[in-house]
Amino acid sequence: MRKKSIIVLLLLLCNILNAQEKFTISGHIKDAATGEELIGATIFVKELMTGGITNVYGFYSVTIPAGEYTIEYSYIGYETQKIEIYLNQSTKKNVELLSTGISLQEVVVTAEVADKNVKSTEMSVVKITPKEIKAVPVLFGEQDILKTLQLMPGVKSAGEGSSGFYVRGGGSDQNLILLDEAPVYNASHLMGFFSVFNSDAIKDMKLYKGNAPAEFGGRLSSVLDVKMNEGNSKRFSTSGGIGLISSRLTIESPIVKNKGSFIITGRRTYADLLLKLSSDESLKNTVLYFYDFNMKANYRLNQNNRIFLSGYFGNDVLDMDGDMGFDWGNTTATFRWNHLFSDKLFLNSTIIYSKYKYMIGIMDDNIYSSIQDYNLKEDFQYFLNTRNTLKFGFNSIYHTFSPGKLSSDVNPSKNKEIDNKYALENAAYISHSFDINPVLKINYGLRYSMFSYIGAGNVYTYNDEGGIIDTTSYKSGELIKNYGGFEPRFLVNYLLNEKSSVKFSYTRNRQYIHLITNFTSSSNIDIWQPSTNIVEPEIADQLALGYFRNLKQNKFETSVEIYYKNLQNQIDIKDGAEIIMNEKVESELVFGNGYSYGIEFFLRKKVGKLTGWLSYTWSKTERQFDEINNGDFFPAVYDRTHDVSIVGIYNFTKRLSVSATWVYYTGNAVTYPVGRYEIGNQIVPVYSDRNSQRMPDYHRLDIGLTLKNKKKRKFESSWNFSIYNVYARQNAYTISFRSKENSPMETEAVQMSLFSIVPSITYNFKF
């Protein structure tokens, strides 16, 4: 009896639920002027106090009961658009929003958009828009997303002028850098002073500091997801800039108006032209430049199908009077197909190619090395209703590692090639974003990743002294070693009130490929190493707790986050190891553990005449290897106790704005000599424990001024003036020790600084 009544009750309930039929309103949100899809734009159903946001392809889908609604479409920097709709069937609604133009100051602040900081199920995330990047003053006036990123809490610069970065105590190879979903293995140009990202080609970027959702994986510390511009689908336009050491040009145009568009962006530096002025013969004959191109095209086949093709090609060239040469560069290509199965189920299929290669030439010898990936991704997004969204999919990557090939023009007997290594990296994931009730939201997911190290190749086993004791040969495609494991992700957001929330997250990441380098700064001489019978996958577990609060009607965003990260199977190279052209490189590695914890404070003002942010990070990062430092924990090189960034942008008028940036951080941990002794006939220094000493603290102020010229018809132009290191602080780049010139037995410490005060000027145009 009882059972029956329950069933009846259930049926009744279902009836009630079904009584009100539900319909879906979906479509794309775009920029009215250029037709660019807007990522993360908000859809808000006023009557229901609910809504959704657009995905990375500008697509949204909201399922609500039939009825009459006022729907607001909004996006920061754009005018909010309201539409009245009577929903009695599923409806497609594409919306174009008008940019408020010049600056963020006129943005109508709508609570629904601006409180995302507090309400979203995201934490440990950094977002910077191209508008902000353009406003921040930088070295040589070259706007750069990676350098702007370094001004955010938890993100540390790899050094003076460097585009390299460290996230929450992770190494630089633990950042997954994606350009239109293609991994970029080395994101630096010109020894790290530029990044590969031309900010004219960038539409959107987002950095996950170690707790990326389940669709991302493969690196421990962070995911930097960069999306390229799609090109103006309304009209042909050209823009560009002329700077002191580089110039750039962008052309964009519709392929078929409102259906497809393309964009091509190119950049070339000419730093070496200045060297031609030098009186030194060898400097005169030095070649040093880079160029890169970003290309993207998209075409909408019909309402439900859209294809994208995007690519990047960059190359750095250095040649010193024919004696030494160094070439390096990345190539990526991405083909994507967006398909809507229904107004609720979205599929993105992606095929990716990525390659990083370099060649070093010294006299008649050349060393060549590369890493190359083919990658297939299937990502489904299912918009169940306004409270539930499911994401699931899989990813397959085929890696080819070419560690080194030496060829000699004059002495063929020197020729040597280290065997390629091959691997297959697979992952499948599912994640669920669930608004349990108006104050409690969760996002949880599970990723399973698998790594197969495969032939052809010779696999060595080593004795304790690094000698080969056994060699096994494997045929092409034959499995050598398999690794795999679950990577759970979990995030909960609890709204304390309309203005504040508490968020907590736990994430596990696995990393199967490792960068082997014996340079502390980015050098471009990178050797990527797969996980093998000897090298195990790296694992990181991160816990983060945050408090988020907005002030003064969301004019100010603030947050405090605490994190703790535990790292396993970290890799370092043995003291004195040779890694270039060494087939036994695995025997030169040591494996250990690490941890990092810290607290990050962030205050940001997004609207008004004055915008900008203030960020402060306190952190501690240590590593432990049995073979180093007697097995004791020691600080990582980039362990920075304090890290402060202050960024301010002030718009005096629509045409004139000024900006300033001040940074301060604790010097790197270094190893100094603390004594001397004599061996053979040589004087040898005795070094302190690993990284037990500190470089001097670093600080610097930059200022910038942007003056927009009066718009003439369609021609817009602006001047940008900037001064790097205004008070000419001599920050230590390296500290070295040498014998005194007039007393060779005595030693002195020498500090080298890179940039004193550097003014620059750039002219930008668009028509």
């Binding site: 730093a271 010294i362 006299m363 340079f519 004195g576 061996i679 070094y687 070295s736």
Partner: protein
């Protein structure tokens, strides 16, 4: 093959750099013991030197460690206590190095005990020495006659060589160890009439690692890699090394 020079050169070109001498407080460490001992398969005596470290900015002499108890033994039962012939210099009189044997050095000084072992490898003969005139200054190599030492090793991967270069009977203070790949080219430049003797020592892997790190420390001072004290094969945190090695040599006069 040294890519480091390239990087240094690059930095010099690219950067508007500026150097200045600074004061750093390098808090002095407790003096540490330094032991250097070599035993070969050539005629004895063999020498063991024991001294101590100094503060980094102190250019005074390095104190010798006297009255230490120094013994060398092998794995077939030979054993000898060394005699101190001058301050900190200890010498053998009986024991003879033989390829294939493992030697143990034991030092008791100032109440502490230090032990090291090293295995004497199979000898490698020097086939010949050749020279060639280099006319221009390229990278780190000076203008002058450049030597190449030719020898034949069957097991490249597991044979480690060290070279002592004597120019007119004077030992070069530079350390040379083989890169394990090619015939060995000496980076120094020599002149006409120089009489050169090259001594080829076959060392074991721990000594090779030690010397490799020592070379990095003494020759690549400007490098950005993390410096570390060479991994010694002597116990108890002593600095220095103990090497049992075979020795063969050949001579040439540049004409």
């Amino acid at each position: 093959m040294n890519t480091k020079y390239l990087i240094i050169a690059l930095m010099l070109i690219v950067l508007v750099s500026c150097e200045k001498v600074i004061d750093i407080d390098l808090s002095g460490i407790e003096p540490k013991i330094v032991i250097e001992g070599i035993i070969t398969d050539q005629q004895e005596p063999y020498i063991v030197k024991i001294s101590k470290t100094n503060d980094y900015f102190n250019s005074a002499n390095y104190p010798a460690v006297t009255d230490a108890m120094v013994t060398i033994s092998d794995n077939v039962g030979n054993h000898e206590i060394l005699t101190e012939i001058s301050d900190g210099i200890y010498q053998t009189s009986l024991i003879q190095g033989v390829s294939g044997r493992t030697y143990t050095l034991k030092v008791i000084a100032e109440g502490e005990e230090y032990i090291a072992t090293s295995t004497m490898q199979e000898a490698v003969e020097v086939d010949s020495i050749s020279y060639e005139y280099m006319s221009s200054n390229i990278g780190p190599i000076e203008q002058g006659y450049k030597l190449t030492c030719h020898y034949d090793i069957s097991d490249y991967a597991n044979t480690y060589c060290r070279f002592n270069i004597y120019c007119n009977s004077e030992l070069s203070s530079k350390y040379y160890i083989s890169p394990q790949i090619f015939d060995f080219g000496i980076e120094e430049a020599f002149a006409i009439d120089d009489s050169i003797r090259i001594e080829l020592l076959v060392i074991d892997k721990p000594v090779h690692t030690y010397l490799l790190m020592l070379i990095e420390l003494t020759e690549d001072k400007e490098m950005t890699g993390i410096p570390a004290n060479p991994t010694s094969n002597i116990s108890n945190n002593a600095l220095g090394y103990f090497s049992a090695c075979t020795s063969r040599s050949d001579s040439i006069v540049i004409q």
